[in-house]
Amino acid sequence: MNRTIISIAIAVSLSACSSLGVEPWEKDQLARADMALDSEKLDLALDDHIYFSKEGSSGGRSLAGGGCGCN
């Protein structure tokens, strides 16, 4: 019994998640403007504000410098 379970587990792991991922014809969805990480500017500004309050630092997301607390 145990041997069957182990051999099934090994057999299943052979596929190694090869069926996951984005197919070539789905890439238009990824390229949509609202799929971009920075599509919501207000959301970014709020995140920055919270991060600044918590860490006493600013910048570091996509700006040069930052992180030293000296604005």
Partner: protein, 155 residues
């Protein structure tokens, strides 16, 4: 043991699908038509989408090939993979196509062909056997693509 074999056969099922002309795709009216209607001709099967840049470049070339070789038995079939058919229609109104256009909005056939990129083209000979595949469309290679077609038409 039998269970294991069954499982393995299920796993390989998705891999065993291969490019062929035995699949069905939709026409403009949404009717399912088999690609085997083009058997007996040299078939240049192309997968494209409205958002794909190189596809835009391949259309004028495919139009030219269609004009030049349709009498000799070349069938150019371009399968659209847009989820939204309206996008494909806008594309076609800007870049008209003289050759056969088919639709595969669920990408069933595309997954059977196991596309690696867009556009992808598959050339079948008159016996319906796959002889050549191209990933992407490169204008500088188009003379080579044409030569392959000419050679196949002679067979």
């Amino acid at each position: 043991m039998r269970k294991l074999l069954l499982l393995l056969s299920f796993m390989t099922l998705s891999i065993s699908a291969a490019p062929s002309l035995d699949y069905k795709v939709q026409n403009f009216q949404g009717e399912l038509l088999s690609l085997s209607e083009f058997k007996g001709k040299v078939v240049y099967l192309d997968f494209w989408a409205s958002w794909c840049g190189p596809c835009r470049k391949s259309f004028p070339w495919m139009n030219a090939m269609h004009q030049k070789y349709q009498q000799q038995g070349l069938a150019i079939v371009a399968i659209n993979l847009d989820e939204d058919k309206a996008l494909a229609e806008t594309f076609l109104s800007k870049i008209p196509a003289d050759f056969h256009i088919r639709f595969d909005p669920q990408a069933d056939v595309a997954s059977k062909f196991d596309l690696q990129g867009m556009p992808s083209s598959y050339i079948f000979n008159r016996q319906g056997e796959l002889v050549q595949t191209h990933l992407g469309f490169f204008e500088e290679k188009s003379a080579g693509y044409e030569n392959e077609i000419v050679e196949l038409l002679k067979e």
